[in-house]
């Protein structure tokens, strides 16, 4: 193993050296070519013609440009002294091509005036060649065929070469600084809608063109969103792609997956299955598909197993995706789509944790607790979703439903010891619990939306633009648990107890929600001045019934039989009716000066009354509670946009809202379970509802520029809770805790964040900077042994990422993160702090078109008060070799956690405590993987 480690370290350093040596050797590209385009027959000058410059040696495209308003061009960044070819194309003209060489001394070549010949006849057998980029009205069209890439290139490889388009490290695509919100294939979402699936799987050769255009925003016609549509070639509308692969490694580590995806003009079907014990988990079939994309020829920073995940996961999963579009070429106002997916997963999970917690209970009094937990879990889960969507030019209608049955068996063993200030053992508790849950969840929702601008006179004015939403949720659960708890006190032995208790807890929960919105109330008001206001009436009604049964029995140590526990056994039913009528008044102002700016200001205020009735019926008298809460919940918001043409686009908003949280039955009148010695629950019937008032703001700036995009966003939220429902804890000298809830005002929280992104393109290389930073501050009250303590905690995170890529050769990412948290207990005058630092360097280098080396190293440092610093590094490396003409076979050798240092730290502060520890985590392994990617596009006969 040591040899392998050494091998990977040396090869990584060697490769990085090669690249930089090569980069230094590479000649700079100081040349340029210029000229002007004319048609002498019709006396036209040819604007927006495409000028492309190719290297004669390998026919690769070096640079290109569109001719300007004067039909002139000046293409920069070209090599001097080598044979090049100029190609000029324009609709209706025969392509002009000519070889030339830029003299090394002059560094520029002038074609003067190029006379283009009109294409008189359009014959079918005329060779059709397309330029890399054309403007068709307001639509930018990228023509992949013109790029002359490797035969295995995918569409992502083309987009990386398109000026103005930026593919960011976090998956966002921007064009001239503005984010592209939708990526479609022939106007439809492609296998779940994640752009990655289309961009990394669809080969260059099946694409006719990629279009980038603006789609108007239906709610504000002056606003628009950027959309990308990948248009497939006529005979390539059908295709099949997939993956089958398996790997085996040291410590019996394995991973295997297989997927097959078939599509045609109307239908998409994907089948996928995977199993591993290296923490590669998925939530649904799309997640699985996204992790088995083919990828093209470029260098990608690709992440391996999740080394940060808790415990060891061994998932085995399979899924099916299905989508049918009744229209071959859907539009926003002409969509008729049926989608369905099924996902089944069996997951084994193991985790051991080792924690130390310090809790402040008085001025100088602290309790020190150590605990070891061992958790094993097996879960089986199935998910079925179906959705139907119908969009017409006057309405939008959709129905969706999901069904999710499953079960989970888990066992948990824990041993915890508590010590006092003098470090002497005060109490110990050992507990074992075996749990089994079976569940079925059913959701159904239906939504009807009339389009805002639909002025069909047949509709009564009150109902114009209305929307109706209905949701139904049903949950049916059975939780069974056997809990053995052995508490020993070294201070007061009379409190020792051994309890062996069984729980059986069927829960049935059913919710109906109806929301009706009538946005055109102002249509009915004839009074002058009011018509310009946008007045809406909204009603939200929620009906919920929760049936919760508890069957508890204890082991009778004398008879050895389980006997019913009449105190804890219960039958509880809670009916909740929540009614929220809302009146919303909104007014918009705008100001514009054509070709200069467009500014928009919108002010909205809502009056909402929340009336909630909570009725609990139980076989325990003290739980028969019927309470009605009523509260006025106002909200307001102001938002503004400023679009300065040719300069920038900015938006800002500030909003105020109020919400109400009512106490639940387990907070008002719970049944106290004596096995929970460290968390004995008591009730408080006097609990009132809590009210949260919050103010949020955000600001965004986007450059409206074609090159070197810059964008930033910042925002924040301040919340104040009146009558917050907080814990009041009574801790005795043996660390036994009784907890009940009380209302205390004065809880405050503040969260602020900022994101800054900047991209720079320097001939062939791309550099991206991303900075994310945030601050969270919380002042929260709690009660410990009768004394109110306000705890102030503050945490902060900062991530700086620099991403560099050079053509298809090298991708490099450096990331540095720092997070900090501090918690201070004002009453006890104590303070806990912790800091985490992490520095990561990832690199991927294509040695040849077939061979790739990747490596990433992360250095972690953890510091916290009262504990020694923890430092560790994770270093992963892999080599990939691709075989066959289509790169369909991939052999991968990976070495993970080369330094064998991976550690998962537990580090968090609470209102009056600090917990630190470690837990089970994936550690060093080496693995060899073989994958095959079947790929077939344009099926026979299609």
């Amino acid at each position: 193993m040591r040899t392998l480690t050494l091998f990977f370290s040396i090869s990584f350093l060697f490769l990085v050296n090669i690249h930089f040596a090569e980069a230094q050797k590479k000649p700079t590209q100081p040349g340029s070519v210029k000229g002007a385009l004319k048609d002498t027959v019709q006396k036209y000058i040819l604007r927006t013609a495409t000028i492309s410059v190719y290297n004669v040696k390998d026919s690769s495209l070096i640079n290109y440009q569109l001719s300007n308003a004067y039909a002139e061009f000046n293409v920069p960044n070209l090599p001097v002294g080598i044979p090049l070819k100029l190609e000029v194309s324009h609709t209706g003209y025969t392509i002009f091509e000519k070889k030339f060489t830029i003299p090394a001394d002059a560094k520029t070549y002038d074609f003067k005036t190029i006379y283009m010949k009109p294409q008189n006849i359009t014959l079918k057998d005329v060779e059709i060649r397309v330029p890399p980029i054309t403007m068709n009205g307001d639509t930018l069209e990228i023509n992949p065929a013109a790029f002359k890439l490797d035969s295995n290139a995918v569409i992502e490889d083309v987009l990386r070469r398109t000026p103005g388009l930026e593919l960011w490290g976090d998956g966002v695509i921007t064009f001239n600084g503005r984010a592209i919100k939708n990526v479609y294939v022939d106007g439809k979402q492609f296998f779940g809608g994640d752009p990655k699936v289309a961009l990394q799987n669809l080969p260059n050769q099946v694409i006719q063109k990629v279009q980038v255009y603006r789609e108007p925003n239906e709610k504000n016609l002056r606003d628009s969103t950027l959309t990308m549509n990948i248009k497939l070639k006529k005979n390539k509308k059908s295709g099949m792609f997939g993956k089958t692969g398996g790997g085996y490694g040291t410590d019996d580590r394995y991973e295997t997956d297989a997927s097959i995806n078939i599509y045609n003009a109307k239908m998409q079907i994907g089948i996928v299955a995977a199993s591993n014990n290296v923490n590669k988990t998925a939530e649904n079939a799309n997640d699985l598909l996204e992790s088995s994309t083919y990828k093209g020829v470029g260098a990608n920073i690709d992440y391996q197993s999740d080394f940060r995940a808790n415990g060891i996961n061994q998932p085995t999963a399979a899924g099916v995706n299905f989508k049918y579009d009744f229209f071959e070429d859907p539009k926003w106002d002409k969509t008729n789509t049926l989608t369905a997916d099924y996902f089944v997963q069996r997951q084994l999970y193991k985790n051991n944790t080792d924690n130390q917690t310090i809790t402040t209970i008085g001025d100088a009094d602290k309790i020190y607790n150590t605990s070891q937990n061992k958790n094993e879990q097996t879960s089986n889960d199935q998910k079925f979703n179906a959705r139907y969507l119908l969009n017409t030019d006057h309405s939008s209608f959709n129905i969706s439903s999901s069904y999710n049955p499953g079960n989970r068996v888990s066992s948990n063993r824990s041993l915890s010891n508590s010590f006092n200030n003098e470090n002497s053992l005060v109490s110990a508790n050992g507990s074992t619990s075996n749990e089994r849950s079976t569940y079925k969840y059913l959701n159904f929702s239906m939504n009807y939306n009339q389009r805002n601008y639909n002025y069909n006179s047949k509709i009564f004015p009150l109902f114009r633009g209305m929307s109706v939403q209905y949701d139904f949720n049903l949950s049916d659960r059975l939780d069974e648990n056997n809990n053995i708890s052995d508490f020993k006190s070294f201070v007061n032995p009379s409190t020792n107890r051994l309890i062996d208790r069984r729980y059986q807890n069927p829960v049935n929960d059913m919710t109906h929600k109806i929301r009706i919105e009538l946005p055109s109330i102002s249509n009915l008001i004839r009074k002058n001045g009011l018509q310009n206001l946008n007045i809406a009436l909204i009603n939200n009604l929620k009906l919920n019934t929760n049936k919760n049964q508890n069957n508890v029995s204890d082991l009778d140590s004398l008879t050895g039989a389980f006997r019913g526990n009449s105190y804890l056994s219960n039958n509880l039913k809670t009916d909740l009716i929540e009614e929220l009528p809302e009146l919303r008044i909104q007014k918009s102002f705008y100001k514009q000066l054509s070709n200069r700016f467009y500014q928009n200001l919108s002010i909205s205020a809502s009056a909402i009354q929340n009336v909630t009735n909570q009725n609990t019926t139980s076989i325990k008298d003290f739980q028969n509670i019927n309470k009605t809460y009523s509260r006025f919940l106002p909200s307001a918001s102001i938002s503004a946009q400023d679009n300065q043409y040719g300069a920038y686009y900015r938006s800002a908003s500030i909003s105020y809202s109020t919400s109400m949280q009512i106490p639940e039955i387990w907070q008002l009148a719970p049944l106290t379970d004596s096995t929970q010695v460290y968390n004995l629950r008591r009730g408080n019937l006097n609990l009132k509802e809590a009210t949260t008032q919050s103010i949020s703001f955000n600001f965004n700036h986007n450059d409206n520029k074609t090159k070197n995009a810059f964008n930033m966003g910042l925002g924040g939220n301040f919340a104040f809770i009146k009558n917050a429902i907080v814990d009041s804890i009574i801790i005795d000298a043996q660390n036994r805790r009784e907890v009940y809830n009380v209302n205390i005002s004065g809880q405050k929280s503040l969260n602020v964040y900022a994101n800054i992104n900047k991209a720079i393109t320097i001939s062939g290389a791309q550099l991206q900077f991303r900075l994310n930073t945030g601050l969270n501050s919380l002042k929260s009250p709690s009660v410990t042994n009768g004394a109110i303590n306000f705890s102030r905690s503050i945490s902060n995170y900062n991530n700086l990422t620099i991403y560099y890529s050079f053509k298809d050769k090298l991708a490099l990412e450096a990331k540095t993160s720092m997070s900090f948290s501090k918690s201070k207990q004002l009453l006890f005058n104590t303070q806990y702090t912790s800091q985490t630092y992490s520095n990561m360097l990832s690199t991927s280098y294509n040695v040849t078109k077939k061979l790739n080396f990747s490596s990433n190293i992360t250095l972690n440092k953890n510091t916290s008060s009262n504990n020694e610093d923890i430092n560790f590094a994770i270093w992963n490396a892999s080599a990939i070799y691709r075989l066959l003409k289509g790169n369909n076979v991939e052999i991968k050798i990976s070495a993970l956690d080369l330094l064998h240092q991976n550690t998962q730290i537990i580090n968090y502060t609470n209102s009056n405590s600090l917990t630190t520890g470690t837990q089970t985590v994936l550690q060093q392994y080496f693995m060899a993987t073989l994958s095959y990617y079947p790929r077939l596009f344009g099926l026979a006969g299609k």
Binding site: Y70, M135, Y645
Partner: protein, 421 residues
């Protein structure tokens, strides 16, 4: 690219009128009609100086008072530019050299009208005692201003009577009125055009079909209406989806030119058949058939040069819509393809394919043998940048603008004088 929806004008919702077939109607005189067979695709380009003998760029002075968005409507009265800007909803008056003179904004209208807040949706030119005045219709009054924004006359509007002032265009000896309504006791008729000699009606043309408006049919009427090309007692009149250019005189309406386009670019014969294309069906048909020439627009005659647009939904880079036909030698020129030369200081004379002023509004006015168009400072600064550092000697006005101005300045008016032949 498809032209935006706001070109669409709905001739509808006039349900208060009852249409009778009995109204007397006049027919245009087609005895001297000139037939022109034209294929826009064959239009040629050329240099700016091939078509125009004078080109002048007139930057409109930018001050806090004079800052406006774009020129929706331009007229020249007393040698002053009078323009309406829909962004600021005001009428601006500039001197011939671009110097700001005054404006008629809500403040002026409020003072003229009394207490009530007012703004204007546009203006018309009226003739009073042989003098042209800026006429603005407000809630209760018709206001007449001179080019110093001085209120000359105020007439109260009658609540139930339509004031035709906005619909009139004056000859030396009479006027024409579009959408002329003849009110009868039992029923009323609306005519597309009526001609007047002095104040006497001489002809009522194109009565609305009985069900034309009630069907909710839609027409695309951009570039249609009356065009004054500065000839004594002669005006051009254009109708939606009609391949004729009509010549209105105080006494009658003539069919001056009839256009015949290649068959695959002509509208279907039943395109205007009532009830055939309901609702937005015409719009939809044209959206799917972008190459079809759906009508004529913006026509002016300067000597032998007949300027007009052959309107197509397809406004892509190769579309040739703004044209000039030489009646003497039959040459067809595409205005967008005229190459800037020394005469135009190497600047484009229109913003066709660069902005949207020319595409949407074409030439704004024809006055004393000159044609006027405009484009934004944003476009002007952009094209100047594309000169790639080539040295061009600009005249004093442009030198000053490039030195002191910015992309945020007021639009520029371009005066073009067509050559004699």
């Amino acid at each position: 690219m498809i032209k935006p929806f706001y070109y669409l004008i709905l001739f509808g919702l006039l349900s208060s009128f009852l249409f009778g077939a009995s109204a007397q109607q006049s027919y245009p005189d087609s005895s001297r009609t000139v037939v022109l067979r034209i294929d826009p695709a064959s239009a040629k380009g050329g240099a700016v100086s091939d078509v125009f003998s004078e080109v002048e760029f007139i930057p409109l002075e930018t001050t806090k008072e004079s800052l406006f968005g774009y020129i929706l409507h331009l007229e020249i009265i007393d040698d002053c530019f009078v323009l309406y800007d829909a962004d600021t909803k005001a009428v601006y008056i500039f001197e011939q050299n671009g110097k700001f003179k005054t404006k008629i904004d809500s403040k002026v209208l409020k003072a003229a009208n009394g207490k009530k807040y007012e703004y204007t949706q546009g203006f018309a030119v009226s003739r009073l005692d042989g003098k042209n005045l800026i006429t603005i219709e407000t809630d209760k009054n018709m206001l007449y201003f001179d080019t110093n924004a001085k209120l000359i006359k105020k007439t109260a509007l009658k609540s139930n009577k339509i004031n035709g002032e906005y619909l009139k265009t004056y000859f030396n000896s009479g006027y024409v009125q579009t959408n002329y309504i003849q009110i009868n006791k039992k029923d009323s008729t609306i005519f597309d055009l009526a001609t007047f000699n002095q104040n006497k009606i001489t002809g009522k043309y194109f009565p609305a079909a009985k069900d034309k408006y009630l069907n909710g049919d839609s027409y695309i009427a951009d570039g249609c209406g009356i065009f004054d090309f500065d000839a004594v007692d002669k005006l051009f009149f254009l109708r939606p989806h009609d391949y004729h250019i009509y010549l209105a005189t105080p006494d009658k309406l003539l069919v001056a030119y009839k256009f015949i386009f290649p068959l695959n670019k002509m509208l279907p014969a039943d395109f205007l058949t009532p009830g055939k294309y309901k609702g937005f069906a015409r719009m939809e048909y044209l959206a799917h058939n972008g190459e079809i020439i759906y009508g004529l627009g913006n026509s002016f005659l300067a000597g032998n040069k007949l300027f007009f647009t052959a309107k197509q939904m397809n406004t892509g880079t190769d579309a040739k819509s703004a044209l000039m036909y030489n009646l003497k030698n039959g040459d067809l020129t595409s205005i967008a393809d005229l190459q800037p030369d020394a005469l135009s200081q190497f600047l484009p004379i229109t913003d066709d394919k660069l902005g949207n002023d020319f595409e949407q509004r074409n030439f704004l006015v024809f006055y004393k043998g000159n044609m006027y168009t405009s484009y934004s400072s944003l476009t002007l600064f952009n094209v100047k940048e594309q000169r790639n550092g080539k040295k061009t000697k600009y005249n004093a006005a442009l030198t000053k603008l490039f030195k002191e101005g910015s992309i945020n300045d007021n639009p520029i008016i371009i005066r073009l004088k067509p050559t004699k032949n």
